[in-house]
Subunit: 333 residues, 4 copies
């Protein structure tokens, strides 16, 4: 249950009432809200005088729910770009799977600049499933990304793998990516709730939509209103492709949540050949953003070699997207 | 292995050679082919003199494979319409889940006529999972569909549920639909191999892509070259939506098979609210066709009430598709 | 809803009442029942005078439900053996995947005789997913099985693949097996409802427990009370093993249905190495039966070569089962 | 590839050679090993003189593989109990889902004492999927568990949820449990590799067997040889039960890895009713341990209320296990 308190209620009083109803106190702009379990359906009469409005909820998708806020949230991505809201923007995010070296990032920057793309991705803490694979450059990679931002004005999105380096990622990045394998991590979710930087949460490949949005609830109830969801494919019995992109699930997210949605066809497909078609499909779904892996020479990439587009393939794909976006009343930025 | 015989080889001789290599004899237009298990990698020297060309295959996706035939097959749907090939057509198929009565079919006909849609769907043998639900009108429904065809010139597609009525369905319909629950049914697959009418096979919700295309191999190797594949959602752990539409799988089918592909977002989603977005996504994938459930009054439908669009919703959706199709160089017919 | 009619109600009257409530008339021994959709929660007052008792049901698991009949059904398997009820029997069924030739069946008979096993399995209509694989001996195989029964007094269980040969299978076999790929087939389910021979239904690998038990409802509501369920593994994201044996699902079936349950670890595992351990686990679950694939020389088997035990492996496994069964108060027969 | 160095090679030299082959240096008792990616199939000739033996591996399941070490590892659990090896022990671990208060833990201790069970479970950092649910007592709970150990001599197993408190868990517990949602967490895995306390890794519900065992490789290659695997159910399309216990997967783990395996039927089933049957099945599989949730009054439990047995149910189950264990040549400790 979301309990909006009257504007006259002080923060101290809000905290006191929060304890009384076993709820989390959330500042939603100027309004203090108490958020309890959705099992709570009524407020105690003792607190009624402080309450402006209540939202009884069916499930613990509460702050993220369209029944609480009917409009999609607008999230600032830095350098003047926004995602969500009613702008009709489909934000393109592109870059390599892993940050590998300065030259690779420079080439990526040149590509993005030439296409006027404003958000660069690149992983520094790779959540590899084998200890014997490349694990990422860590803080050295973060610094390369930060240097690129300084030089070119991109916004940077990079992944936090576990709570041991969440502070570093928050410091260096513009948008924090919580990866598919880390999205249940309370250490990360709570740190992201306490920051003011926008957070993109990727759906775990074994994660239900309910759990996915509830991960966003951790960040939102922690005080950070700027959460973006990213669908990147779920694990099913089908193994010809790496994962199964769940566009039915995206339809659910668009219908029932107030969060911007980004799609990641690269990880879903796992193979270069299908990514262009899938990206166009995602664009026509009318989603808020796309995140695509692109690498100067995918064949020698240190991770995800099979699924990264080369620059020429990416240019060709990118050139085809504007028409698709326009056909559904949107524009690629 | 696909063994193309020389044009000079008689059919009798082809049959004799087929037995020799334990292969199925398939007439592919004027050419006789022997198709053996893909485990066979060499032909016996004794038959070499009759062989024009061989195709060694990795898996039992053989006649359906792009490595055998690089171009997508063109399939005639009746009344001058075709699917597949290089026409750039995206064929719209629409109609109710179940044929319920004459009035319902008449209203559907009016809708399709007004939009110039040429293929009507409607089920007469419903593969319900409960014996206590509506099971379809059976042959009475087939006759209603046939009457509509006579009156309006539509092509009709309707589903065969099991082998007991496959002859009736083949007799009355223009395109035979093998449903998701029936696609392993050898009785149906063999009957469809022996007919000249086009066959649309729906992927079972627990069916791998490999098995799906191999179902087509039963029909193709039975002598019917006109097979269309239909992806309609697979069963995954996610239950907020009825099924999970597998567009990564569609990318695989487009890349590796020579069969036209149709998408069914209605069954995948299971709820009206997401179908328009999904249909636009499917269109932007560049597939060969779409099949959508539409009902005059979905609320009282005898099956699939939650997922059928009403006529007004369908018109609105349909009006939006042309632009999307054009944006990827295709047209809706 | 299950409506038990008073004993005084004639069959003709029962049929008339059945039409009135849109229910299926089922003779459960001497009692006529009307079974309607479970959505029906009340009987029309006009028929009240004919009604002895009603069972309001939550779902369309009705005749198969423990809330309708609390005791597990006892099913006669022929030659004096029964499965289910409260006998504490765990019935062993063994034999090859496919019937291949007379010699193979003779060797199997010798094995079963030596262990006093009374039910032999063997497939004649193989539901292969490729048209280029061995498809089974068909009626020739059925006759081999029937000859073995005559010679040795085994009961025979063999699979029906599709409705085109269901009459033949019913004629030759003692227990009809509806395979995992055929269990939605209304043609088969209705034919099995109309016979008096016991029917074992295998769960489809993409089939929910609800749908699985509802397949049994087709047979039960068709008038055949002798249905056995068989869990044989479901398809999941894990591919190191062929399928995933669902023992949690078995716990559900034991709790909520009144049907005997058989387990098939051979198909679930798909590899010889795990079958002994799994069979012991299944035995300790306290299920009513086990069905195991065994072949004189698995390496040359025409189907399922990797998962069939050889005779020596099977003897070793079988020797270990008595102790496990006894430890849970059961006996292997 | 696992490269065993000659005993004469110093640690410093081993570290130098490790860099040379881009491998991780692991002390396996007195022997230094270099472990590289399994893609490496040959050693550079320059290091040959230092190498005692090499193990070429198919996959990155290396230190955990039976082809490296054929015998199951023996892991000390404290207070004189061991798991694994060839003892034939099946270790029972029991206790509540969450540590809730001192009284609850005292009652659990009394239960375990009366049955001579030596390992108590209890969660202090609950990986809940909603921020509005009970999140565990944290360090206060750890201290309650530690007090119980001091008073009663139990070994304690408790879960680490994320890297922010891994040091605390390692300090207070005897056996570290890495939960299903945390098993990809490099921060946790690396901390566990650096400790000497035994580690039990639970399989993620969306995790393949390959990834599961590779999580163990992180700990093993970090220098901790004492890793136990725990199967607790995977997420499938079936939702009548909470998860699907994967005993086929357990057969794989027993066949291909050298790690002790524990089964958790409580989380797999999610409902009290099936747990006794499943636990007996798991016991008959011949696994090394069992972990069962038990609560003084499950109805008021702060988490997992539906699946915890009450003390009387647990006693009844426990009494039945000895016979099952004996029937497969094992004993419950």
């Amino acid at each position: 249950m979301i309990i909006e308190l009257k504007p006259s209620v002080s923060r101290d009083k809000a905290n006191e009432l929060g304890k009384q109803v076993k709820g989390i106190v959330v500042q939603d702009k100027d309004i203090s809200c108490l958020v309890t379990s959705s099992k709570v359906k009524e407020i105690p009469s003792a607190i009624a005088e402080f309450v402006a409005r209540t939202h009884v909820m069916d499930t613990d998708i509460q702050l993220a729910s369209r029944s609480y806020r009917s409009a999609t949230r607008t999230v600032e991505l830095g350098n003047g770009k926004t995602i969500g809201g009613n702008t009709g923007n489909t934000v393109m995010i592109a870059g390599p799977c892993s940050v590998e070296d300065v030259e690779q990032i420079a080439q990526t920057a040149t590509l993005l600049n030439s296409l006027n793309i404003g958000v660069m991705r690149g992983g520094c803490y790779k959540p590899r499933t084998s200890p014997y694979s490349f694990q990422g450059l860590g803080i050295q990679g973060l610094k390369m990304l930060a240097d690129t931002r300084t030089a070119h004005g991109f916004s940077i999105i990079t992944e936090v793998r576990d709570a041991t380096h969440v502070a570093d990622v928050i410091e260096y990045t513009d948008i924090i990516q919580i990866g598919a394998k880390a999205m249940y991590d309370h250490g990360i979710l709570r740190a992201c709730g306490a920051t003011r930087k926008p957070v993109m949460i990727k759906r775990g490949f074994g994660t239900t939509l309910q759990e996915f949005v509830q991960a966003a609830e951790f960040v939102l109830s922690g005080g950070n209103a700027d959460v973006i969801l990213c669908e990147r494919g779920i694990r099913t019995f089908e193994t010809k492709t790496r994962f199964t992109l769940d566009l039915c699930g995206v339809a659910f997210l668009k219908q029932y949540t107030n969060l911007p949605v980004i799609l990641d066809p690269s990880h879903a497909m796992g193979y270069r050949y299908g990514i262009a078609d899938l990206t166009r499909a995602c664009t026509a779904m009318g989603v808020d953003g796309l995140i695509i892996e692109v690498h100067p020479v995918p064949e020698v990439a240190k991770s995800d070699a099979a699924q990264q587009l080369n620059h020429s393939e990416f240019r060709e794909l990118y050139a085809s997207l504007e028409a698709v976006a326009n056909s559904v009343g949107r524009k690629i930025i």
